[in-house]
């Protein structure tokens, strides 16, 4: 009886240490360079920005809303006079890749083992083992957020043009795992995703201009 309680004591101490560490991390302040422009900032800006000719700002905003709706986003916020649209969508984050396959196989194997041991040693064999089953944590749901900002392009004398706009979209996502904790909080920086957005936007602009 003394051996398990010693183990439990050690476990509790480890848990407390972990808690302490979390508290220290929680108290830590933002890293000093968090608001500094980096070399990556410029590269990202190019990735996320396009100049569009032959359209005014309200029409471009309308076309952008169209693309967001095509992609299943809901509009959370908009301020036309500042050229701002904010949208989001909640989607599954379950990745039907190898990781999940492994997990399913793993849990099936485990269930089979548990059943076998239960049959051999009685129903209560794995009672203290329940926590282990919750160790399999995987991504379940995600919120994808987008903000689109437009501004009039300027002509050679620095005056804003009515018929040419600059548009920039930034994307980010929050992912929650099967325990309801945030597993990822990240900016989306994949060039392919932005390229796909702007391809769709070109088509939407074409439709928008035809409609008027």
């Amino acid at each position: 009886m003394s051996a398990p309680s010693a183990t439990r004591g050690r476990l509790r101490r480890v848990a407390l240490m972990a808690l302490c560490f979390l508290l220290v991390a929680g108290c830590a302040t933002v890293s000093d360079n968090s608001m500094q422009l980096s070399a990556d900032s410029l590269q990202l800006r190019q990735l996320q920005t396009r100049r569009i000719e032959g359209i005014d700002e309200p029409a471009l905003l309308a076309a952008s809303v169209g693309v967001l709706q095509d992609l299943g986003f809901n509009i959370d916020e908009s301020e036309m006079r500042l050229g701002v649209i904010v949208a989001s969508k909640d989607r599954s984050a379950v990745d039907l890749g190898d990781a999940v396959g492994d997990m399913v196989a793993d849990s099936l194997f485990k269930a089979a083992l548990d059943a076998m041991f239960s049959a051999l040693f009685g129903d209560n064999f794995d009672e203290g083992d329940d926590d282990d089953d919750e160790d399999i944590v995987y991504d379940v749901t995600q919120k994808i957020r987008a903000s689109i900002v437009t501004r009039p392009a300027v002509d050679s004398s620095g005056q804003p043009r009515k018929d040419a706009q600059v548009i920039r979209i930034t994307l980010q996502r929050l992912v929650w795992d099967s325990e309801g904790k945030i597993s990822h909080a990240e900016s989306i920086e994949d060039p392919k995703i932005y390229q796909r957005f702007f391809d769709r936007l070109s088509k939407s602009i074409f439709l928008e201009l035809q409609a008027n």
Partner: protein
């Protein structure tokens, strides 16, 4: 042995108190309003509120933020950056006299207010570039 095993508990308790907690957080601030404003606030020599807000928005996008909210009438922009942690910032723009705009930023990271002047200084340096104007300290 007993004391040693209690050590983590004591340490945790100390940390918890160090962070302060619960309902006190509502009116909690570590610095005076004057101190906060000294690094959260800058004045720009322009009367163009819309252009100032547009520059703020462009700067936030440059810094990797996704917008949450924008309101020209109130002169407010809020945005969030996700990079492992959540950094949320609100920027207000309002006229100061007839020839200046007063820009104020405040930020929180996770569950903490950002009260280190450095990130704010960096933000205003980035904003100066977007505005092509100098940020003046406000007294």
């Amino acid at each position: 042995m007993r004391v040693r095993s209690r050590l983590p508990v004591i340490l945790c308790a100390a940390l918890l108190f160090g962070c302060a907690s619960s309902i006190d957080q509502v009116m909690q601030t570590d610095q005076s309003a004057v101190q906060l404003r000294s690094y959260q606030e800058r004045a720009f020599d322009t009367a163009d509120k819309e252009q100032t807000l547009r520059s703020v928005i462009a700067t936030l996008q440059d810094l990797g933020f996704v917008l949450d909210k924008a309101d020209l009438d109130l002169g407010i922009v809020s945005a969030t950056r996700l990079s492992g942690y959540q950094l949320r910032v609100t920027v207000t723009v309002r006229p100061r006299g007839s020839s200046q705009m007063l820009v104020r930023a405040n930020a929180q990271q996770g569950e903490r207010a950002v009260e280190d002047p450095k990130p704010y200084q960096d933000f205003f340096v980035a904003l100066e570039k977007a505005m092509f104007l100098t940020a003046h300290e406000v007294d």
